[in-house]
Amino acid sequence: MTEALAAQPLQWRLQAGSPLCFRQLDDQFLVFNAASGDTHLLSASGHELLQFLSEQEARAWSAPALAQALLGESEDADFCLSLEHSLRYFEQLGLLVPVLP
């Protein structure tokens, strides 16, 4: 049982009831997090990722599942690792919350 739990990939989702507010200024993207009061300047890839997640608000995502949904593939280990790092980074900023398996 413990091994089965350990094998489950980590998942993240948006903070419930706390919608993100996106703004584009020229070629830069900003997101305001009402839960923390912070505004973040996103990279283009960060914006693409967070925008996608905000469109699937109620769902929790693991990195492989997100890779599959975004690109139609989940076998690229390097890409999945980059995704997971980004999800963890968003978590540290309070933009996402981890979901316990």
Binding site: A16, G17, S18, G37, L41, L42, S43, Y89
Partner: protein, 200 residues
Amino acid sequence: MNNPSENPREPGAVASSVGDAAAARREARRRLLKGGLAAAPVALTVTSRPVLGAIECQGPTGFQSANVSRLVGAPGGLSCGTRKLPADWVATGVTWPAGYTRAMLFGSAFPQTTLYAALTLEQVLAGPSTGTANDKLIAQLVVAALLNSASTTVPSVQQVRDLWTGYLGNNFRPGSEAVWPPSKIIKYLQYTMGIAVTFP
């Protein structure tokens, strides 16, 4: 035979066009993400909370976040503004918001409860004579929060009701957090009324 790509009204042409657009979108996304996610997805963070004066109130989910927790109760007495306390609302001459009267039953305002259901909102605000210390204090606070919610959006009426029923059921947990103990529910409600609270 018509070429579907030349006649966008053809169902096949529409499907093909949608499929092409989706494929193009996915390819653009692939280039963007595979090239970009190696770097940090956030380039800069600006904290925009006011240092003095009113602070925008946070809902229960925001209240539990580390950012808010660090600020609430910090030197300077940060809280989320000046909302009325139970004693303010019960005072004679204070006008109550539309939709609420002093004679309204607690059970009408909080339909999921039996505790204090037969008391009026004014009686609850003044302090029920029965129940535990937490029962009395949290009931007073949720009535004040309910009246405060008429002029604010956070916490919402539903969130206030959820706090009360969650307290009674010992199952209030915003987001994925652990169940809030009564002490945290009290802290949050007091925070929404301008009382600076501290965290261990």
